[in-house]
């Protein structure tokens, strides 16, 4: 019979408080095959791990069960300790008696009984565990970065500078992302474009970066080390190889009143346009919704409408007939850096479960704008050339009210989280405003000020103390047009006073949200995401830039609201992860993959249909005279991700997932 060692952890008081660890050890010591059972204060400590190592050596253990915290926490730790003592790491398993026992129960007897049960399950299961060895698979040492904002740019540059080829995919016509639209950045108030634009150019010119703008991910096949990514290059209507970015086309386009996305609707653009002057690449794109020629073509009008841009182009670069094309890139790792969108008050919501603020009059009351619009107004490259004017009449507003937490921390609107950077950018806005409109009054309605970060609190303080921003702790209940003014009715929670303020302009600090369509991308990548659409990291503390799909990493605001320094730090972290992974010729993979019993497989290929990865291949069994006797299933170990769906599909149970074989699961159930 097997020789199992059971190690019960008190986790200080965490487990010991509700579970009688000694009783668990004693009970497990009575189980068939258990030859060693002890409890200890901290199993994950060095002395704790040594207990395991010593027992393996002394008692010649064939299996180790650690009853402690979640395997998600320490399975690796204990497997490593087991391996250190010369036992195959896969002969070590954990029982979760903390998160799933001591922390959720108060009744000591019941919790102890449950802990014993759980440990018995695993001590039976482990008798059927097999020693496993890692699988070696090939590695394409190129990376894909999805998203050309500051995170994506940083990740791409770090990896390219590290010597690896990078494919950067951006869905907009230009890279740069949200950061390119900001005026200044906190807490230094340096010009956003000044720090970003050089990086954009660097990316564009980097010999190891392949830049695909106006492109989107169509599908992702393969697995870590061997992804095959199909990318849709959307039809720009402009031949990139011919265009020299002279801008003639834009100047002749008759459609001049299209609201500019870049300027958050405050400025206009043409139908053929470069989103902003510093765009990279500096190649225009035809807005198919608004181009007269293309609209005419879609309506099958016999006579071609317009076409002035084509006439104006000296290089014959305009191609109205252009269609979407596809490229497939083979990469070994993927960095997801798709960023965020701003919560949209009052307007239609892009995310399910989120409602807007009708009461704040955004979109109906003039001069109620959001933070990004203020950035554009304040920006030297913005529609007003950096002069603070209000959109309705172009007058300089003398009293601007900033409202914080619009959308954020508002479970009733669907977002319970804090968007983290609004406090900072509101402070920045008040400063920018006050620097430009010296006689202006900046009033901020806030709930709390959250300014954790290097120099952050000082920054907010400066806005209040040096730049005279007036902070009111309270909530605004309604915003209405009152003549030329915007009237706010609110409540000062500190003084308890009801307030009514007439402002010239109101800026709403709206929440940060996940990008629309992120779910579909995440599903293509097989990465999980939370209820808000933010990509889940593999571990909140220890693996903050990994996702739970091997080879896919995450950087920036697509994971959670992030400011620029955080995003850049994450991006560099992903780059170093990828470079680390690329430092080897081949990859080693967890051996928990499926395998086929060639004797009993009947070749019905139900497994093939169940496999989400296409890991099941056809294998011809030959008889002695070399004829095909039967065609059966075979698993590509590199492709298999170990989900085990094949095993359930197999009627004869001829396919088994290592680590979760039927024998193992049945043993656990048998121990019920």
């Amino acid at each position: 019979m097997a020789r199992i060692g059971v190690f019960v952890c008190h986790c200080g008081e965490n487990i010991g408080r509700t579970v009688d660890c000694e009783a668990v050890a004693n009970a497990c010591g009575e189980l068939p095959g258990v030859v060693h059972a002890v409890d200890y204060k901290y199993m994950c400590s060095d002395p704790g791990q040594n207990l395991i190592k010593e027992a393996i050596a002394e008692k010649n253990l064939t299996g180790v069960v650690v009853a402690a915290c979640s395997p998600h926490m320490h399975e690796k730790t204990f497997r490593k300790a087991t391996e250190g003592a010369g036992l195959n790491p896969y002969l070590c398993e954990m029982t979760n008696i903390r998160e799933q026992c001591s922390w959720i129960h108060e009744d000591r007897d019941a919790a102890t009984a449950k802990a014993i049960d759980l440990t018995r399950f695993i001590s039976e299961k482990i008798k059927r565990n097999s020693p496993l060895a890692p699988i070696s698979i090939s590695l394409e040492r190129r990376a894909l970065v999805i998203g050309g904002g500051i995170s994506g740019l940083q990740a791409a540059l770090d990896m390219a500078d590290g010597g690896r080829e990078v494919v950067l995919v951006e869905k907009q016509p230009s890279i740069g992302g949200h950061m390119s639209r900001l005026s200044e950045t906190f807490p230094t108030l340096d010009c956003s474009q000044c720090i970003l634009t050089p990086r954009m150019v660097e990316v564009h010119q980097h010999p190891r970066i392949k830049l695909l703008t106006y492109s989107e991910i169509e599908s992702v096949d393969g697995y870590i080390g061997n992804f095959s990514v199909k990318i849709r290059k959307k039809a720009r209507g402009v031949d990139e190889t011919r265009c020299n970015g002279c801008g003639e086309c834009q100047s002749v386009c008759p459609m001049k009143k299209i609201p500019s996305e870049f300027d958050a609707g405050l400025g206009n653009r043409t139908a053929i346009y470069v989103p902003f002057p510093q765009a990279v690449p500096n190649i225009p794109v035809i807005d198919r919704e608004n181009c007269l020629r293309i609209k005419g073509m879609q309506k099958k009008k016999a006579k071609a409408a317009c076409g002035r841009c084509a006439e104006a182009c000296g290089r014959d670069a305009i191609d109205f007939e252009q269609e979407d094309t596809f490229v497939t890139e083979k990469v070994g790792a993927i960095v997801v850096a798709t960023g965020y969108q701003l919560y949209s008050i009052g307007k239609e919501q892009t995310r399910k479960g989120i409602t807007g603020y009708g009461e704040y009059g955004y979109g109906t009351v003039p001069d109620v704008i959001d933070g990004m619009q203020f950035e554009r107004i304040a920006s030297a490259s913005g529609p007003s050339g950096g002069e603070i004017v209000r959109p309705s009449d172009g007058k300089v507003p003398k009293r601007v009210v900033f409202l914080q937490c619009i959308g954020s921390r508002e479970p009733s609107k669907g977002i319970e989280y804090c968007s983290k950077l609004c406090c900072m950018y509101v402070a920045k806005h008040t400063m920018l405003y006050r620097h430009k409109v010296h006689d202006g009054e900046a009033i901020v309605f806030y709930m709390d000020i959250r300014a954790g970060g290097k120099g952050y609190d000082e920054f907010v303080r400066r806005a209040i103390e040096e730049d005279g921003a007036k902070y009111i702790r309270g909530r605004v209940s309604s915003i209405q047009r009152e003549g030329e003014k915007v009237r706010l009715t609110g409540f000062d929670t500190l003084s308890g006073e009801q307030m009514e303020i007439d402002a010239d302009m109101v800026v709403l600090a709206t929440a940060m949200q996940a990008q629309p369509g992120i779910e579909s991308l995440a599903q293509k990548l097989s990465v999980s995401y939370d209820g808000h659409g933010f990509i889940n990291e593999a571990h909140p503390k220890l693996r903050p830039v990994d996702t739970n799909t091997a080879g896919v990493f995450v950087a920036g605001a697509c994971q959670a609201p992030r400011d620029i320094p955080d995003s850049v730090a994450m991006a560099s972290a992903t780059a170093s992860k990828v470079l680390g992974m690329f430092s080897k010729e081949r990859l080693e993979r967890e051996p928990t993959v499926a395998g086929v019993d060639k004797v009993t497989c009947s070749g019905c290929f139900h497994c093939e249909r169940a496999c989400p990865y296409g890991a099941v291949e056809r294998y011809e069994v030959l008889n002695r005279s070399g004829e095909v006797e039967k065609v059966i299933a075979e698993v590509n170990e590199g492709v298999c991700q170990g989900c085990g769906s094949c095993q359930v599909a197999c009627p004869s149970k001829s396919i088994e997932l290592e680590g979760f074989t039927d024998a193992q699961i049945f043993a656990a159930i048998n121990a019920l």
Binding site: P32, R120, N670
Partner: protein, 369 residues
């Protein structure tokens, strides 16, 4: 022993059933199954009163075998505490049982099986149940064209295996001539003397018996001895492949057969520290029956497995135990989904046997020697 003859009326049978149960015996009899099948079907089941007995009804789906060699039975159970194992086995006490209205072909199977169950090693569960059971057979009127008991040396009113034989005396089938055949039968009759009448009214008993025998004899006329010799000297023969073509190897024939007795022994754990070792019915028709752990299978094809079944019944068993391992009940033919028919196979073998006999005669008279 000269059979004592008595008379049992319908009411007598009812009282007998009642009294037997009163005395603590389990009474088993053929009863109609309660289901909406197009044809009436019967099973041997424990009964509470004689009203349920389907006298003259269809042959029960399973033979009496299931009460002596149950489809599954516990041989022993084990329990493990740490490394120590303790064993426990069934008590060996079997309930006192009386089978009322056993078909002669089912009763006859029991002494046939006593041979294999008792050579050298006595199978205690089998003999324990045999000892606890008294069999009251009832002469059969012959069910259909698949009946062939006379061909294997029996008859629709066979005494073999019965302690008491009931023979219907009239067309109602409810009143019986009683022949007491064994000491166990005598004991039963003694204990319940009040339900039997004497002297018997033999009525049409003889006539009905003869008519049944004639009907069954018409169904199949073979020479089992010749078949045995032929099988023994013609192991390899093309005929098996043709016979077994349509056979699914499902083993339904073996399940319903009163004489098929192959079994399997398996362990069935109940949790991690205890379990039961069981004996379950098995069949030589299953390919796994003879499959070795190495993957080698001495009988890889259905033709070999079907041959084994016929060989075992008509050559091997007769040679070892001087009994044909078949009582001609015809259940195998009725149960077969593929239309396999043992009488037909036997007829074929009989023809092969007689033609090869003729050949042998011919060659011996040829005097080539």
């Amino acid at each position: 022993m000269k059979p004592e003859k008595l008379y049992l009326t319908e009411a007598g049978l009812a009282k007998l059933t009642h009294d037997l149960r009163e005395a603590g015996a389990r009474v088993i009899a053929p009863v109609l199954a309660t289901e909406s099948s197009s044809n009436p079907v019967a099973d041997y089941r424990e009964i509470e009163d004689a009203g349920r007995i389907a006298l003259g009804g269809p042959l029960p789906r399973l033979s009496l075998k299931e009460f002596f060699l149950p489809p599954t039975e516990a041989l022993l159970s084990w329990r493990q505490v740490k490394g120590d194992i303790s064993l426990d086995q069934p008590s060996g006490d079997y309930p006192r049982t009386v089978v009322v209205g056993a078909f002669p072909c089912d009763a006859a199977a029991l002494p046939v099986l006593d041979k294999v169950m008792g050579w050298d090693y006595r199978d205690d569960p089998w003999f324990g149940r045999r000892k606890a059971t008294t069999i009251i057979s009832r002469a059969c009127a012959v069910k259909d064209s698949s009946c062939f008991c006379p061909a294997v040396g029996l008859s629709p009113d066979s005494l073999k295996g019965a302690d008491i034989l009931l023979v219907p005396v009239d067309d109602s089938g409810n009143n019986h001539l009683v022949e007491v055949l064994t000491p166990a039968g005598e004991e039963l009759v003694e204990a319940h003397r009040d339900v039997f009448e004497s002297p018997p009214d033999e009525g049409k008993a003889d006539e009905l018996r003869k008519a049944a025998l004639d009907r069954a004899s018409e169904n199949l006329d073979i020479e089992p001895g010749a078949i045995k010799s032929w099988l023994e000297s013609n192991f390899e023969h093309d005929v098996w492949a043709d016979i077994a073509d349509r056979c699914h190897g499902c083993g339904a024939c073996a399940s319903v057969c009163p004489t098929c007795h192959c079994f399997d022994i398996i362990d069935e754990p109940e949790g991690i520290d205890r379990g039961t070792r069981r004996r379950n019915w098995d069949t030589c028709q299953a390919s796994l029956f003879t499959l070795h752990g190495s993957g080698h299978n001495p009988r890889p094809e259905q033709s070999a497995r079907y041959r084994q079944r016929v060989m075992h019944k008509f050559a091997i068993y007769p040679k070892r135990f001087e009994e044909i391992l078949c009582t001609g009940c015809g259940r195998c033919s009725r149960a077969c989904a593929a239309g396999m028919d043992l009488p037909e196979v036997l007829r074929t073998l009989d023809q092969l046997a007689s033609s090869s006999e003729k050949q042998t005669e011919a060659s011996s008279t040829g005097g080539v020697g």
